[in-house]
Amino acid sequence: MDFSIIELDDETARFRDEVREFCKRYITAEVLDAEYRDGNGFDLELHMALGERGWILPTWAKEDGGAGLTGLKASILALELEAHHAPSITKGTTTLVLPAVMRWGTDELKAEVVPGVARGDIRFCLGYTEPDSGSDVAAARTRAFRDGDEWVIDGQKMFTTGAQNCQYSFLLTRTNPDAAKHKGLTMFLCPLDHAEIQAIRTLGGERTNMVFYDGVRIPDRYRLGPVDQGWMVLLGPLNAEHAMADSAPPVTLDSPGGMYGISAVFALEAAVAWAATPGPDGRRPIDDPLVRHRLARHALDVEMATIATGPAGRIISSEVAIRVGADLIDMVGPRGLLPRGEKGTVEDGWIEHSHRFAQGTATYGGTTDVFRNIIAERVLGLPRSAPPTKSPS
């Protein structure tokens, strides 16, 4: 056990100051307003500025486009960006996919995309989900047919978040419909220039997309890994997204561990700030026993969302965000409904936003129900939950 303060040497302290200056310069009120309004999960100027400093792949060597940062500095960078509410969805999907490209891509493909990823002008989105398959990832039906040195892609993907910001999709296709469900899949890093992207708006204010692949032809060099063995290729990024990876960083910081905890942290901070401010009657809400008791409970729940890890972290952080968001908005009263920028808005609208945004987090990357199955089977060793069998005739 060790929760001691990490003393920063002068050089690291200067680095932290530099990151803070960077955040102030690039994560402006306009950027945050636009993110709140458009839910893009991305800001081009910010992303390119990160790339210019090697901060998209901060721990990579400088000659490979990174910044050669130590684990501690990389953690400081991540923490400061998060604390300043940097739009990060597209950066997240890009760096999630990159290890699969490094592992399975040909040298030619890597030369084509990796320097651009580091610079910032090449970005990846996740092309798993389809209209008929979401949490059941391997049920994908989008087809890829071989035609000489090319592949022809036919199908439709859903909820390809950030596709409008990206040049490639990490695309799950079915190449052998006669094989078993997990055995006939092939992965591609599919260029998006011939795919059709249609926007979908969410309750959480996010922009996501339907992406149509209508006879899209791509050269074989965009294939990742062996034909029909795409499930193996997909598992790396999928497990990382599922927070199942067992490689913990050497230094972790006092920061939201559960991946969706941050939304609840911001909402709670906003509510505590609101509660400590006297109302028109001169009284502080925090002195009202009803408010005080609930905020204490929410502080407990948010702490749990922060310290939980792995699949439990994914579930707890999402469910805490949902539960806490719904009650904080009650506590604040009608002003809790007002969005950012409206007259009388509470604390920049973080509570209003959190209440909506939290709902989607229980679905992203596999629903909380699926994650409970993962824990039941892999952690508790319970028998696999059975699909319904045919009723006896």
Binding site: M1, S4, A276, R292, R297, I307, V379
Partner: protein, 349 residues
């Protein structure tokens, strides 16, 4: 916004792992459920207590200057978790907290010696004030430390008071701290006395939290085993998500609750002035988790889980039976709020 850059290392050292394994083995061997049952309704097993003394379970928590082994809370929570896991009928948590308190004041030296020799079991009266109160371990202890007025007092008796029957079969008893059958000595006064008493209460809460995590883990194991074995509607009931997901919720509480207890423990041991809300937070969470875990286990085990033959009910009784002596757990949220938000201001008062 200035963020604390802190490590977040929840792991155990090699020595701590060895200590944990030693107590796991000890309790597994010495304290099967039959032993818990045979100690009912009094909640105390003298022989087990003697053997535990052989493991230095109490002495290890006393500083070396006081004749102990100088272990910290980090080590003591590992013992407490194993105590809870077997719902062992021994008041080790109360005794170690009281012994540490005795070691902190010169006036406690004689009693501490008696404790380390094994002739006295000490405990702590958790509620400030001088009157009658239910004291944990109070039916086997001859010495209880209490805060009476502004004085930290050691109340001693020739023999412990009678146990009072209780749902948790815990060794609790009424102690009349102002009564004629106790002999009182002042250990510390004023600010020092209050601070020591508060610290002891926090240590009791931390160790009890760890025991509650142990209880939750034990009933989780019972529930999971049953869900694997029991067949209904042609399948093991663990294949039904209504069953498996309730067990998963318990598993998440155990793992995350243990992390919270370790974090609270570390701060209390190394930086007791920082993040003081973590102790009431861990205690509240652990007791809530234990009540949920034991409720789920009794339910997953079906009708059998509700019978007195079921081990699950041993745990169910103690989830509240070991905690309510400190009062309504919801009050911990008040303590948490005071630490996090500062004391409430009363307008016009």
């Amino acid at each position: 916004m200035d963020l604390d850059l802190r490590r977040a290392d929840y792991s155990l050292s090699d020595d701590q792992e060895a200590l944990q394994a030693a107590f796991e083995t000890f309790f597994e061997r010495e304290c099967p459920a039959t032993r818990v049952r045979s100690a009912e309704p009094f909640g105390f097993d003298e022989e087990l207590w003697q053997r535990l003394a052989g493991m230095r379970a109490v002495a290890m928590g006393v500083p070396e200057s006081g004749g102990g082994d100088g272990a910290g809370l980090e080590e003591l929570i590992l013992v407490a978790e194993e105590v809870g896991r077997r719902v062992a009928p021994v008041p080790v948590i109360e005794a170690v907290v009281a012994a540490r308190l005795l070691a902190a004041v010169p006036a406690g030296a004689d009693t501490l010696d008696a404790v380390l020799r094994g002739s006295v079991i000490p405990t702590i009266a958790l509620h400030a004030g001088g009157g009658d109160q239910l004291v944990p371990g109070g039916s086997v202890a001859r010495a209880a430390i209490a805060l009476v007025g502004d004085d930290l007092v050691l109340a001693e008796r020739d023999r412990p008071p009678e146990q009072v029957a209780n749902q948790g079969h815990a060794p609790i008893a009424w102690w009349d701290l102002g009564g004629s059958d106790v002999e009182r000595r002042t250990l510390a006064t004023g600010r020092e006395g209050r601070d020591l008493f508060e610290q002891a209460g926090r240590e009791w809460r931390i160790l009890t939290s760890a025991a509650l995590i142990g209880m939750s883990r034990a009933v989780l194991d019972l529930g999971v085993q049953h869900a694997r074995d029991r067949v209904a509607f042609g399948a093991p009931i663990g294949t039904f998500q209504a069953v498996s997901h309730s067990l998963v919720d318990v598993a998440m509480s155990v793992d995350t609750g243990r992390r919270l207890v370790r974090k609270a423990t570390w701060y209390q041991q190394h930086e007791p002035g920082v993040h003081r809300h973590l102790v009431p937070m861990a205690y509240f969470y652990a007791q809530e988790a234990a009540v949920e875990a034991t409720t789920v286990a009794v339910h997953v085990l079906g009708g059998v889980g509700f019978t007195v033959e079921s081990d699950a009910q041993l745990y169910f009784r103690r989830a509240k039976g070991w905690t309510l002596v400190a009062g309504d757990p919801q009050r911990e949220l008040g303590a948490l709020a005071d630490q996090l938000f500062g004391p409430a201001q009363v307008v016009g008062a």
